[in-house]
Each structure stands twice: as C-alpha cells, then as structure tokens.
C-alpha cells in the first residue's frame, strides 16, 4: 500500500520541493550573503548586514509606508463596497447572476491589461480620470498629472486595487450571507427589527468569520501589490511610489543585488506569515469559545 502511495505523491512532491520549498529556504540564505551574480565568484556571508541596510534605507522604508497606505485605503473600501453589493444581491432578484458576473469581471482580467488601462485612464492630459475629477466634479482647477507625483500616483494605483478587488470580497460575502439562516431574520423581524437592525444584529455577527478571512487576505494582498505599480509608475517618479515588491524586483533584476533583494523578500514574507498566524490563532480561540 505504502509503495502505491509514494508513487502517487513523490513525483509531484519532488517538483514542489524543488520549485517552492528549496527557493523558500534559499531566500533566507541568500539574504545573509553579499551575493555575486557571476557563477564561481565568491559570495561572502555577511550576517544581517542586508537587513541593517534595508531598515536604514529610506527608499525601502518609504516602500513599506506606501504599501501600508495602499492597504489602509483599499482594504476598507473593498470590504464596505463588496459587502454592500453582497447585501444587494442577497435576495431572490431576477438577473442577479448578471450583476454578479459584471462585478467579478475585473477580478478575472489580467493585471497587465487593467494596469495599462488605468495608466491610460489616469493619463496626464484629457484622460477619463481628469474628465471626471476636473470637468464634471470640479474637484481640481486644472488637469492633474496623476502618475507624476507620489500621492496622486498612489491614489491611481489604489483606485485600480479597489476596482479590481471589489468583486472578490463581494463573492465571499455573498456566500457567507447565503449561509445565514432565514429563521434568524424572521425572528428578528417579529421582534420589530428593521432592515438595518437585522443587518447589524443578525447578518454581521453571522458572517464575522468570513469577514475576518477577507480582512486578513486583503491586508496580505495589499502588502504584495506589484504589477500595477510596476506598470503604472515603475515606482517613480524618483522612487516615490515604490512598494516593497517593486523595490525588491528593481534591486534584484536591475542592479543584480540578489542578497539585498532577498532580504526585502524575506522581511515581507515574515510580515505575511505573522498576519496569517494571527488569523489562525484568532480562528482557534473562536472555535474554542463556541
């Protein structure tokens, strides 16, 4: 029996170990070295020097701030709008599948295509964003060069993040809301609770586990924003919109600083693992309670 089992597991596991597990360990080991890209040349072990450099590197620190800002802006918006849409769709509404498909469409569209699309929308001249913000809403006196400075650039990148992510949180919330027993709503209605009261006191507590999962996964995803920044601003102008992954990528593949890039990767991995562990611990304590 065991022989058959290994025949099923080992080919796949060997590939998995080679492509995922071995590089995962290597990321850490590389981060402790001054890696020389030329084969055969010495790559001395330098301990934590890459980490010391990173935490004294204003561009890396700025990249962390940028991804934190991106996360703080995009996560609540995706949750509020996604949940709102899920509530609207959680009804025997004819045509709800059509709306679900429309809202989820950005999620399945390639990051490359939507990043280029938003680069065009946020063009400096008479693009769509300027048409709406300047000419319709009159929020700015003249056309904004969105991608030419830090905060307007981050705003454009965040707008893309929200637009592309809403459908995903909507679908998870919709699945969670569908699982809330009808009887709870009916009982609350008999007690005189209005629509808002039922939402607050019945739906929200019932979907709390799903909400936690969405929050944690969105935060993790927020810190990993990459392709949109790479294509929309390239981290510029002058590194002002760098996020950790674009900076890591730049250091590694433009300057061949593989050791330093690995230190940035590993720092971000630790951040993500801490968030995952926190969610796991929270789930466990919750399961014990109930």
């Amino acid at each position: 029996m065991a022989v058959a089992a290994y025949a099923f597991v080992l080919p796949g596991f060997a590939l998995y170990a080679l492509i995922v597990l071995y590089p995962a360990v290597q990321t850490f080991l590389l981060s402790l070295r001054d890696w020389n890209i030329v084969p055969g040349q010495p790559s001395p072990w330098i301990g934590l020097a890459n980490y010391v450099q990173a935490f004294g590197d204003p561009v890396f620190l700025r990249s962390l701030v940028n991804s934190a800002v991106y996360t703080v802006v995009t996560v609540p918006l995706q949750i509020v709008i996604g949940l709102g849409l899920a509530v609207l769709l959680d009804s025997k509404l004819p045509g709800r599948v059509f709306f679900r498909v429309v809202f989820y469409l950005p999620v399945v569209t390639s990051w490359v295509v939507v990043s280029l699309l938003f680069q065009y929308i946020f063009a400096s001249g008479d693009g769509l964003a300027n048409a709406v913000v300047v000419h319709i809403l009159h929020l700015a006196p003249h056309n904004v060069a969105w991608l030419q400075s830090r905060w307007t650039g981050m705003a454009a990148i965040s707008a893309l993040g929200v637009w592309k992510g809403i459908g995903w949180s909507m679908l998870i919330f919709l699945a969670a809301l569908t699982g809330v027993p009808r009887e709870l709503h009916e009982a609350a209605a008999l007690d005189g609770a209005g629509a808002w009261g039922r939402f607050r006191h019945v739906s929200l507590p019932a979907i709390r586990p799903a909400t936690m999962v969405v929050i944690v996964l969105l935060i993790i995803g927020g810190f990993q924003v990459f392709i949109s920044v790479l294509l929309m601003t390239q981290g510029g102008p002058s590194d002002s919109t760098q996020v950790p992954l674009t900076y890591m990528y730049d250091q590694a593949f433009s300057y061949y600083k593989f050791g330093y890039g690995s230190a940035i990767s590993f720092t971000l991995t630790v951040l993500v693992l801490v968030l995952s562990a926190a969610q796991y611990a929270w789930n466990r304590s919750r399961n014990k309670e109930s």
Binding site: M1, A2, A4, A5, F8, V9, P11, G12, F13, L15, Y16, A17, L18, I19, V20, Y22, P23, A24, Q26, T27, L30, L85, S91, L93, R100, V101, V102, F103, Y104, L105, P106, V108, T109, S110, V112, L116, L117, Y120, A123, G125, D126, G127, A131, L171, A175, E186, V213, L217, I220, G221, Q224, L231, M248, F253, F258, S265, F266, L268, T269, V272
Partner: protein, 280 residues
Amino acid sequence: MVVPRWRRITDHAIRYVLLTVIGAVMIYPFLYMLSTSFKTRSLILDDPLQLIPSDPTLSNYVTALTANHFGRYFVNSALVAVVSTVLIVFVSSMMAYAFSRFDFPGKRFFFVAIVVGLTIPTMMLIIPQFLLARDLHLLNSLQGLVPFYVGTALGFNTFLLTGFFETIPQELDEAMLVDGAGAWRRYWNLVLPLARPALATCAIFAFLGTWDEYAWALTTLNDTEVRTLPIAIALFQGQHSTSWGLVFAASMIAIIPVLIVYIVFQRHFVAGLAAGAVKS
C-alpha cells in the same frame, strides 16, 4: 414571513437602481477600453466620455494581429497555459488521491509542507527561482516556464482536491478493490470521474493563472520569439506609447479567451474562491 407585494416591488426597485449605478461604474473602464480600441490614433484622448467612436475603425485590430509576431505570442501563451493546466490538474490530483486514500509514513510531513507552502507568497521566491532556472538552463524558453508554473500551483490545487476527494465515499473504492482493481484504476476510473466539478475548478484557475502570468515570464524570457501575451502587451505599450488604440486592441484579443472561460464556467468560481485568493 409574508411580505406585501408593494414592499417586494420597492425593495427590488431600490436594489436594481443601486446595482445598476455601481455596475455602470464598474463596467465603464472596460467599455472605455473597448471604445478606444476602435478609435484611430488622432481621435484618442478626444473626449473620454464619448463611448461610441465617431469614426470607428478596425485598423488597430488588423495592425495588432498582423504586426509584431502577435499571432506567435498568442500561440506561445496558449501552449504554455494548456500544457501547464493539464500537468497541474494531473499531478495535483495524483497527490490528492494519495493524501485522501492512503496511510503512509511521512504523510503528515508531506501534507504540512504543502500547507505551509501555501502561505508563502510566490513573488518572494523569485530571486532563488531565477538562480535555479539559470542553473537548470530553463531561462529564456517556453518549456522552462512550465515546471515553475506547475510547481508553484501544486500546493493550492493539491489542498483543494484533497478536501474534495475526502467527500467521495470510501465504500466505492472498497467495492472496486473487491473486484481486483489496483490503485491506479481506482484513481483513474473512479475518483477522477466523480471529482469532475472540482477538477474543472482547478483547471479554470490554473488556466487563468498561467495565461495571465507576468512576473516570472518577464524575469526569465528575453528573446522576441518566446514572449507570452502579457509580456508582448506590456512591451507594446512601451513601444507605441501613444497608440493606445493598438494596445487595447491587443488587450481585448488577450482577454477574450479569459472572458469565454469565465462566462461559461462562472459558477465554478465560487468553489475555489477563498483558497484561490491566498495565492493571487
């Protein structure tokens, strides 16, 4: 609970109004892209709110399809995506079969290693993966992409399928075992056909993931003839920075297979959703 008819009608009306307004905002960027892809170069950036081009033209599509090896890139992407998808579904279903049907020494270790790997973001591995690909001479080739696409997708799909296979009753296996069927026949003739919905979910996510993959292809591919579509489209934008119509015509061609897969199989998306997000 009996809801009066007028209340149900107002409820639906409010929902439709809100959904339509938000839906219009959500779909607008796509319409804007579609509209731009039919505009001539001079009309681009004319009036962003005018969706119907005053003088629509197919010339961007003709240029995209004929120039710059575009057909080649499309075929490259299709080949890589199809081969990777088949391998991902096949290899991860084999692993999932072992995890759901056998007890063997080290099973826990193997499974935990897969679950731990799920929490590691793929991008964090790109530097050592690049060195590995260089040492294995897998850089700058389409075949070289496949082992990396398959390897990084195995964890998630094995995890998803193991859960599904466990819901298939063991008694069916035992009945086949009595008839003398070996492990392979039970896997191939029993579990795989019964798991078709889950396999479909895996295949869809695997196809979309590999069809759209950008970062790894960008890092490892150099030569023109091995480019995949996402690389080609991003470069298109760099080379023809003012020809947005051309960029979006190419983009539309690239997202059509995705749209078809998505609209035909959209109910499968809910299934693999929560877990799929971990790696996206």
